[in-house]
Subunit: 470 residues, 2 copies
C-alpha cells in the first residue's frame, strides 16, 4: 500500500497546491493585517479631522457669496481667482491656471410667458427659464398655440400641425426609477434635442416640463442643442406646477395662445481657465492621480451641489493630506475644470494636456454627483485593478463607502484617455434632482457633515491609490 499512500499523498499535495495557489492570487492583492489596521486608523482620523474642522464647508460659504459661476461670466472669473488664491494659501506644491476658451452665453433679463389668448385663462402667467444656449425671442415676444407632446418621436410626427406653434414637451422625469441620474438621463432628450425636432416641423418655440424629482414651481435649466440645418428657435423650461396647469388648460382650450419673451444671447467665446493645484509625489512625481470637479455652474442658485461643494471636496482632499502631514508617494493633483455644463471645454483642454505631457496617469476621480452622504465609487478599469480597490473596502468603509463597482466616472476626467483607472465618487442621489440646475441649489441644502464625509472618502481613495498603486 505504500505506493498507494504516496499517490494519495501526491494527490493531496496537488489539491493543496491548487488551493494555495488560488489563495495566493487573492492574497497578493491584500494588505497585511498591520497595514490594513494602520490604514483603518488613518481613515478614522481623516473622518474626525474633516467633521471637526468643516474647512471645506467654510469654503463653500465663501464660494456661495461670490454667486453662480456660469462659463464666461464675471463671477466665474472671481471664483477662479478665489480658488487659485485658496490653493496657494493651502500651500499646495504647485498652483497654476490652464487657459481655456469657453462659450459665453448670457440669460438677459426677460423670461416671461403668459397665456395671451384664451376665453378662460387669459393673462395667466407661466414661470419659465431659458435653457442654456437658447436664442432670444423678438422683443415683442413669440406668440403661438400650444401643442403638447410626450416625446421627440411625437414631435417628429406632428408634421404640419406644428407649424407656427409652440411645442410643449410634457413627459416628466420618471419618479418610479430608483436611480435619479438614470431617470434624469431618460427625460433630458426633450431639453437637449427638443428645439431641433420642433423646428424641423415648423414650430416657433419650445417649452419643456422642468426635469426634477420634487413638486414645486422652480424651473431647472441645462444645456440644449441646435442643428445648423434647421432654424434656431427659443427653448425654455416651464415650472413643474405650471406645466401641470398648462397641460390641463390646453386640453380644455386647445386654441389658447401663449406669448414667450426671452432676451438671452451668445457672445463671442471668452477667456477662462482650469484651476490646478497639486501635492507633488515624494517618490514618483510624474505618476499622477487627478481629483476634480467642475468649477462652472449654471446661473441659478449658487451651484452649491452642482458642482461647488463636490469640487471643494476634491480641493479639500489635498489640503487634508497636508493638514495630516501625509506625503503621498505619487502626485495628487486637483483640477477644477471650467465649462462642464455647456461645452466641456475645460475637460477637453486638460485631456489634450494629459495626452501630450510627461506625466503618466494612474487614476482620476471625479466628484460631480452632489455632496450628499457617501455610498460608493464607480470605476472604469481592468478587473484586477478593480479587485485591488475592492480589497480596500474595509478601510474606505470608515468614511461610509459601502461599495466599489464597475461603472462610469464623469465627463471631465473621462477626457484623460490614458489613465489606468477612472473613478466617479458616488454619494446618495435621492435629493439631487430636487435642486440640480435650479434656484434651489443654494448653501442651505448642503449638509456640512455629508459634504465633509465625501471629502474624507476622496482623500482616502486618492491616498490609497498613491501609496499602493494599481
Amino acid at each position: 500500500m505504500k505506493i498507494l499512500n504516496k499517490i494519495l499523498f501526491d494527490t493531496f499535495l496537488y489539491f493543496l497546491f491548487l488551493t494555495s495557489s488560488f489563495s495566493t492570487t487573492i492574497h497578493s492583492q491584500n494588505l497585511s493585517p498591520e497595514k490594513l489596521k494602520s490604514y483603518e486608523e488613518l481613515a478614522s482620523k481623516m473622518v474626525r479631522t474633516v467633521l471637526v474642522d468643516q474647512k471645506g464647508y467654510g469654503w463653500l460659504k465663501e464660494l456661495c457669496k461670490i454667486g453662480p459661476r456660469l462659463s464666461g461670466s464675471e463671477k466665474s472669473m472671481k471664483a477662479i481667482k478665489w480658488a487659485e488664491n485658496k490653493m496657494k494659501e493651502c500651500g499646495f506644491d504647485s498652483v497654476w491656471l490652464q487657459p481655456v476658451m469657453v462659450p459665453h452665453w448670457v440669460r438677459g433679463n426677460a423670461a416671461q410667458a403668459s397665456i395671451s389668448s384664451s376665453k378662460k385663462y387669459k393673462n395667466e402667467k407661466l414661470k419659465i427659464l431659458a435653457f442654456g444656449g437658447s436664442v432670444a425671442t423678438p422683443k415683442k415676444g413669440i406668440t403661438g398655440e400650444v401643442i403638447e407632446v410626450k416625446s421627440l418621436d411625437e414631435a417628429k410626427k406632428l408634421g404640419d400641425k406644428a407649424k407656427g406653434k409652440i411645442v410643449f414637451y410634457d413627459r416628466p422625469l420618471d419618479q418610479g426609477t430608483l436611480n435619479t441620474f438614470q431617470a434624469y438621463g431618460e427625460a433630458v432628450d426633450q431639453r437637449m434635442n427638443g428645439a431641433i425636432e420642433a423646428a424641423k416641423v415648423g414650430a416657433v418655440a419650445v417649452l419643456v416640463r422642468s426635469i426634477q424629482t420634487n413638486y414645486d414651481n422652480v424651473p431647472h435649466t441645462g444645456v440644449m442643442l441646435y442643428d445648423k440645418s434647421v432654424p434656431e428657435i427659443p427653448s425654455a423650461a416651464i415650472g413643474f406646477i405650471d406645466a401641470d396647469f398648462l397641460s390641463k388648460a390646453v386640453k380644455l382650450d386647445p386654441h389658447l395662445k401663449v406669448t414667450i419673451k426671452l432676451d438671452c444671447k451668445t457672445l463671442p467665446d471668452a477667456q477662462s481657465y482650469n484651476v490646478i493645484g497639486q501635492i507633488t509625489g515624494s517618490e514618483k512625481p510624474n505618476d499622477v492621480i487627478v481629483v476634480g470637479g467642475h468649477w462652472d455652474s449654471w446661473d441659478q442658485g449658487c451651484g452649491a451641489h452642482d458642482d461647488g461643494a463636490p469640487s471643494l471636496q476634491t480641493m479639500e482632499s489635498l489640503d487634508l493630506l497636508n493638514r495630516m502631514h501625509l506625503k503621498p508617494k505619487r502626485t495628487i493633483r486637483c483640477v477644477l475644470f471650467i465649462n462642464e455644463e455647456n461645452g466641456l471645454r475645460g475637460g477637453i483642454e486638460y485631456g489634450k494636456y494629459s495626452a501630450n505631457g510627461k506625466d503618466t496617469y494612474l487614476a482620476a476621480i471625479e466628484s460631480d454627483r452632489g455632496a450628499f452622504t457617501p455610498r460608493g465609487f464607480s470605476v472604469t478599469t481592468d478587473s484586477l485593478s478593480l479587485l485591488k480597490m475592492q480589497n480596500w473596502l474595509p478601510i474606505l468603509n470608515k468614511t461610509y463607502i459601502d461599495w466599489i463597482r464597475k461603472g462610469g466616472s464623469g465627463g471631465d476626467v473621462a477626457e484623460i484617455k490614458n489613465a489606468k483607472a477612472l473613478l466617479g465618487y458616488v454619494p446618495d442621489d435621492q435629493r439631487y434632482m430636487d435642486l440640480h440646475h435650479s434656484a434651489n441649489d443654494v448653501l442651505e441644502v448642503v449638509s456640512p457633515r455629508e459634504m465633509e464625509l465625501g471629502t474624507s472618502s476622496i482623500a482616502l481613495m486618492s491616498y490609497l491609490l498613491s501609496e499602493e498603486g494599481l
Copy 2:
C-alpha cells in the same frame, strides 16, 4: 495503473464531496436563481410603486397637520384615532387599539432664561427648552450663579461650590464621531442624569448645551431622570449658540447670575393606546412578524423624522403588500407604540402581550432612526439566521440596502423577548441630530423619495421573512 487511477479518482471524489458538501451548507441558505430573480423583480416593483404613489408621504402631510404627539396629549389621541381609521381604510385584516397608561407631562408656557445680574451682560436673554419630565421653577423663577462643567464627574466633584448655583453642562456632542447616534449616546448622560448629580451637590437648577450636530439656536429636548433620594431641580436645554455665549460670559464674569422660569408639570398618568393593524398570514396566521415605530413624539416641530415618517413607513409597508396583491404566508403586524420617548410604556405593554399570547414571533423590525435614504438592517439573532438574511442582500439592494449586520434593533421591539430575530432599519444618519427632538423636525425636512425607499426596504424585508422564514 488501474488501481492507482481508481485511488486517484476516489481521492478526487473525496475532495469533490468536501467541496460540494461545503457549498451545500452555503447553498441550503440560498434561493434558486429563478426565485432570486422573481424576488428581485418584486423588489423593483415595490420601489416603483412607493416612489410613484408617495402614499406614505401623503399620510405624513396629514399627520403633521395634527401636530406633535406628546404622550397623554390631546393631539396624541387625535393621531391615534387618525392611524386607527387609516389602517381600517387600508383594509388591514384586523385593526385594534391596545390600552396603555402613559405619563402625562406638560411643558406649560414659560421657558425663559436671562442674565439677571452682571456688569456686562445684564438682561441678555437665553434660549432654553425644558427637558421632558422637568419640574417647574417657582413663579418668580430661580436665580443663581452659573458654574460650567463638562461632565457628570466634574459636577460630582464640585462639592460645596455648587450650592445654590445653576450647573451648566457644556460638553457638546462630539462632531468628530462618524455615527451620529453614537455621538448622541456619548453626550446624552448630561441630559439624563445631570439634574440628579447637580442636586446631590446642592445646585438649584441645570442647563445643558443642546445636543445636536448643526449650528443654530434651536434647543433640542428629550427625557431626563430624577432620583427620589435628592431634590428634583428644574433642567433645560440651552440653544447651541447661546451656550457658546454663556460659556464665554461666565469666563469673563464668573459671578453673573441667570434667572430661569419654567412652569412644566407632571399630571396623573393618562389613558392611551398602541395602534395595531395586521395582514393575517394565509398559511401560518399565528407566526408573526412585527413592524413598527413609536407613535408619540416630543412636543416640538411635528416629530416628522422622530418618529412620524418612520412609523408611517411600517404602516405603509403593509398597505404596499395589499396594493400589490401579495398575500403573505405569515402574519405581518404593524404596531405603533405609544410613549417611547418618556416611558416606553407602549413597548413594555406589547412585550407583555407577546409573552402571554398564542402567537410565536419570527421577527420584529423597528423603524426609529429617521426617514433618510436606506443603508442597512442591524440585526440581533443567531448566526445562521443572520447568514440567511444576508443571502437576501441582492434582493434588498434593489431598495438601496447595502448591508445586514449584527447589532441592536430598537427600544420598543426589544421588548418582544421571544422573537427569533430583532431588526433595526438603518437609514443614513448624518442629518438626524440636526433636528431630533427639536422645532426643526417638521415636514419640510423629510425627502419624499428617501422616506418611500425606506418603506420599500421594510416591506420587502418583512415579506421575505414571511415567505422564507428563518
